[in-house]
Symmetry: C2
Subunit: 520 residues, 2 copies
C-alpha cells in the first residue's frame, strides 16, 4: 500500500460522500505492508469469483451476489417484481403483506424496511404509504410470532410471501403451513393470497404450483441467504412496500466499483478487511462492535452479525485444517447505547474495536438552542465517544455517509459483503457455506426423533398411570441414552398440558430436588 | 457448595417452574469449592446492601432496587400510578403515549411492552387494547426517531412521558424540548399532554412544575437507570399500556426470595455468578451470548447487554486498582438466529458461553403434522443446538421458564440484577456507577465547544468566501489542535447545507484526496 494514503488510512468517495477513516485503528505501516501480497492474492480470487469460478467448493457453487448487481436492475425479473408490486398497490384488495422467511430472508428485508420507512410504516395512513401495503414479518417457529401477526392481519386482504431457496427450511415451512391452515379455517382460499420466492423445482416451488399461488419468483442457486439482500430476496418485500429498490442496487453497484480497485490503499473493502486482520491478529481476537449513529439503521449490528459471523465462523480452512475461525459482531445504535454497553468499552476489557457508522444528514431540523440542533448533539456525542475511546487507546473505525437512505444502505451492504469475502481469502476459509448450521439441523432431527419415540410409548397401555423420573421414562420408551432429551419433551408436555398420543397428558412435580413426571 | 446439588448444578423452583441448568458449563467441583468463601463474603455484602448500606461509594448512594420490591406493589405511589393510567384509559382523550427516555428508561420499558403485547400492540383495535393507549418510544437524539414518531402522533390526543432521574440527560431533554416546540407550532398546550418521572427538585421536576404538566411522578435517588425496571420507571409506561405491573413486581419478589438463600448451591443468582466467574476466569474472558427462544423476549439480549456491561465494565476495582473488568453480552432470539451467528458458535472461535432462555408454554397451538406442533419444533431446535454445542465442548447455560409472561420476566430481571451484584462482589468492583459514561459526556461537551468556536468564526467577515482544509479552519477559529473535531463539524454543515452564524453555509469537495471546505 502506498504510504501516502495509509498514514492516515482514510478513503473518501467524493461522489457519494462516503468516507472510511481507519485512523483510530492504530494500524502500523509495517503491518499493512505485510498484507500487501496476501491482499493481491485475495484480489485475484475476487476477480475469479466475479468471473464465475466455483468459490463455494463444498457446495460446488458459484457466488454471484456481486456480479448479479451489474445486471439485476435492468433485468426482466426486476421489471416483473416492480410490476407485481405496483399492481398490488393499485389493485386495492391487498392491504397487508406478511413476509415469511428466516436468516437472510428476514434480516435484510427488515433492515431495509426500517432504513426506508422507520418503525411506524404500518401506522401511517394509506395515502402516506402511497397505498402500498403494510408489512409484517414472521421469522421463527415460535407460535407467538405468528399469533401476534394473525391478531392484526385481515387474511382476506393479506398477501403472504414465503421466501426460502430450498423450500425445506423448517421454520419458514411451519409458518407457511400454519398460515395456510388459518386461511382454511377462515374459509378464504390461500393460493390467491400467497406468493413465493424460491428456486425453480424446489419443494416450495412445487407446493406453490400445486396450490395455484398468485405468484412465484425464481431465486438462483448461486445466491446465499446472507448475501441476498440486493437481489430478488430483498427486492420483493421492498417493492411491495414501495421502496425504491433500484436505488439500493445502484448503491451496491457504486460500492462494487469502488471496491474492485486492485490497490488496497484505494479500496475501502480491502482496507477494512486489512484492519480486521490486524486488529484481531488474523484470528478474530477482538470483537467488532457496530455502532450506527442512526435510528433508521438500528438493525445494522444484527444484520452484520449474521453476514460476518455466519461467513467467517468456521471450523476448518480450505485445506481442511482445523482453525476455529470467526469474528464476533454485536452492537446497537449510538448515541443512546452510550448509556449502556459503552461503559464497558470505555473502561473495561480492551477486547474489541468499535465501528462507527454516521449518516451526516439530519432527517429533520429540530433546534435545541440558538446554536445547536438535535442532530448536532448526535454528532457531538459520536465525536465525543471517538475521542474518549481513542484517548484510552481503544480502537475505532469510522464510516461516514451522506445520509441514512437506501442508496447508502446499498453501499454499506456491498462494502461489508466484499470485506467479508476478502477477509475470508486472507484467512483461507470458505465464506459461503455454513456447515455448523447443517450439523445443528441434524442434531435437532435426532431430538425430534426422541419425541416420536416418547409419543409412541405414551400411547401404550404401559404408560397409563405411569410416574417416575426422566431416566425411567427414557428407558421405558427405548432410548435409555436420551435422558436429557426425554426430560425436555416431558417438561414441554407438562407445561402445555395438551393431550398427545392416545389422549395422554403429562404432569410434573419436584421430588427430592428433581422433576418427576406422571402420565394420566 | 454441597456436591449433591453441584453435580450436576441444577436449580429448580417447583412453584414457578423456573429451572437453571448449568450442566453444560463444564464446572468442576474443585472450581466451585474454591468460590465457597468468596460467595459467603459476597452474600454478607448483599445482606448489607439490602439493609441500606452505601454500596455505591463513588456516588455515596444506597442501592435499593432489591429491597424496594418488597414494598412497592403495596405503596401509595403504586396505587397513584395505577389510578393515573386507569383515568387516562377511561378518559378517552389520550389515545397515544410517547415514552421519552434513554438507557434504562427505554430498554426495560421496551422489553416489557414486547413481552406483554408483542410487536403489534399499536395496530390492535381499541377494544383489543381495552382502550389503553398506543405506545411509542424516542430514545436517542437522532432527529429521525422523533420525526418518525411525529408522523403518526396526533398531538392533541398524545401524552408525552419524559423519564429522567436528573432531568439533565441531554438526549431526553432534546426530545422533550423539540416535542414541546411541536406542540407550540400546532397551537396545542403542552402541559396537559406532558408527564414526568424524575427526582424531586431535579431540573426536569422544576421545568415540569413551571409548565404545569399533567403529572409528575417522583423517582428515588437510590434507583439506578439500568436497575429501574421493576420500579416507577418501568411502572408508568407499563401501566399506561394496561400491563399487569403487580405481576412483574411479584415475579421479581419471588426471585428475590429464591436468591436470598445463603447456600450458593441453592441460590440461582449465586450459581450463575459462579458460572460466569469460572467460565471467564474472573476476567470476563468469554462473551455471554444470550439466546431467548421466544419472539416476545427478543429484546432480552439488548436489555442484559446494558445491565451487565454497564455494571461490570469498569477500569478500577473498589481499591482503585486498574483492572479493566467486564463481561461482554450480546445475542438475538433463537431458533431463527441459529441461521446466523450460531454458525460461528458451533464451528468458530471458542470464546463464549451461550445462555439459553426457553419459555416452555406455547403461545398458540399450531399443528404442523400429526405429531409435531410449531412450538415442538422450537423446542427441538433448542435441544438440537444445545446438543450440537455441548457435543463440541462449547459451554452452555440453560434457563427454562413456564411461560414468556410478565411474572416470569420479573423473575428474570431480578435474577440477573442479583447475579450482576454478586459477580461484582466476586471481582471486587462497584456495579452501580458508570464513570466511563461521565467521561464520554465530558468529551462530547468539549467537541460541542469546538462547534461554538467554529460558528463564532463563521460569523466573522474573515470567513466570508473562505476556503481551505480542516487544519486551516481549525487554526482560523482559534483551536488549531482540534483539526479532527473541526473537520467533523464542517462535514456535518456541508452535508446539511443549513445556514448558520450570520447566514453562512459550508460546502465541501475532495481536493488531492482530502475534503476541503468553502464558506459562502
Amino acid at each position: 500500500m502506498s504510504a501516502a494514503v495509509c498514514r492516515p488510512p482514510v478513503f473518501i468517495d467524493a461522489e457519494s460522500g462516503f468516507t472510511l477513516d481507519l485512523t483510530g485503528m492504530g494500524l502500523r505501516p509495517a503491518q499493512l505492508a505485510k498484507l500487501a501480497a496476501p491482499l493481491a492474492r485475495a484480489h485475484a480470487e475476487m476477480v475469479r469469483l466475479e468471473a464465475g469460478a466455483i468459490k463455494n467448493p463444498d457446495e460446488n457453487r458459484k457466488v454471484t451476489h456481486f456480479s448479479d448487481r451489474l445486471t439485476y436492475a435492468d433485468s426482466a425479473q426486476f421489471r416483473e417484481v416492480e410490476a407485481f408490486a405496483r399492481a398490488i398497490a393499485a389493485g386495492g384488495e391487498i392491504e397487508q403483506v406478511l413476509v415469511n422467511g428466516i436468516g437472510g430472508s428476514a434480516l435484510g428485508p427488515q433492515l431495509l424496511q426500517q432504513a426506508a420507512h422507520g418503525p411506524y410504516w404500518n401506522e401511517q395512513a394509506a395515502a402516506a404509504r402511497r397505498h402500498f401495503p403494510k408489512i409484517y414479518f414472521v421469522d421463527n417457529t415460535d407460535s407467538a410470532g405468528l399469533a401476534d401477526a394473525l391478531a392484526v392481519l385481515d387474511l382476506g386482504k393479506t398477501l403472504a410471501v414465503t421466501i426460502s431457496k430450498s423450500g425445506g427450511t423448517q421454520e419458514t415451512k411451519n409458518n407457511m403451513l400454519a398460515l395456510e391452515a388459518a386461511y382454511r379455517a377462515a374459509g378464504i382460499p390461500f393460493g390467491p393470497h400467497a406468493a413465493a420466492v424460491t428456486m425453480p423445482g424446489s419443494e416450495l416451488d412445487r407446493y406453490a404450483r400445486a396450490g395455484h399461488w398468485r405468484q412465484i419468483f425464481p431465486m438462483a442457486d448461486s445466491i446465499g441467504g446472507r448475501t441476498s439482500e440486493t437481489n430478488i430476496v430483498g427486492h420483493v418485500p421492498a417493492a411491495l412496500a414501495g421502496i425504491d429498490f433500484a436505488a439500493v442496487v445502484a448503491g451496491g453497484r457504486h460500492m462494487d466499483e469502488l471496491t474492485r480497485n486492485p490497490d488496497p490503499a484505494q479500496n475501502p473493502a480491502y482496507l477494512l478487511a486489512a484492519a480486521w486482520y490486524i486488529a484481531g491478529r488474523g484470528k478474530g481476537e477482538r470483537n467488532m462492535v457496530v455502532v450506527p449513529y442512526s435510528d433508521r439503521l438500528g438493525l445494522m449490528g444484527k444484520y452484520l452479525q449474521q453476514l460476518v459471523m455466519e461467513s467467517l465462523g468456521k471450523e476448518k480452512d480450505l485445506d481442511g485444517k482445523v482453525v476455529h475461525q470467526g469474528l464476533t459482531v454485536f452492537g446497537n445504535k449510538g448515541g443512546t447505547d452510550a448509556h449502556a454497553y459503552i461503559q464497558q468499552l470505555n473502561d473495561g476489557r480492551d477486547d474489541f474495536f468499535a465501528l462507527f457508522i454516521e449518516p451526516l444528514r439530519d432527517a429533520a431540523h429540530y433546534p435545541i438552542d440558538a446554536q445547536l440542533s438535535m442532530g448536532d448533539y448526535l454528532h457531538g456525542f459520536k465525536e465525543g465517544l471517538v475521542r474518549a475511546l481513542t484517548g484510552k487507546g481503544r480502537r475505532v473505525a469510522e464510516i461516514s455517509l451522506a445520509a441514512a437512505d437506501v442508496f447508502n444502505l446499498g453501499m454499506l451492504i456491498a462494502l461489508f459483503e466484499r470485506a467479508v469475502a476478502v477477509y475470508a481469502e486472507l484467512i483461507h476459509i470458505n465464506a459461503f457455506h455454513q456447515p455448523g448450521v447443517q450439523a445443528y439441523k441434524l442434531a435437532s432431527k435426532d431430538v425430534t426423533a426422541v419425541y416420536l419415540k416418547l409419543q409412541e410409548w405414551l400411547a401404550t397401555p404401559a404408560a397409563s398411570g405411569w410416574h417416575g423420573g426422566a431416566a425411567a421414562a427414557a428407558a421405558a420408551c427405548g432410548c435409555p441414552e436420551q435422558v436429557r432429551s426425554v426430560a425436555g419433551w416431558l417438561d414441554k408436555l407438562a407445561v402445555n398440558g395438551r393431550a398427545v398420543a392416545a389422549g395422554r397428558r403429562v404432569s410434573r412435580a419436584v421430588v427430592a430436588g428433581v422433576w418427576e413426571y406422571g402420565v394420566n
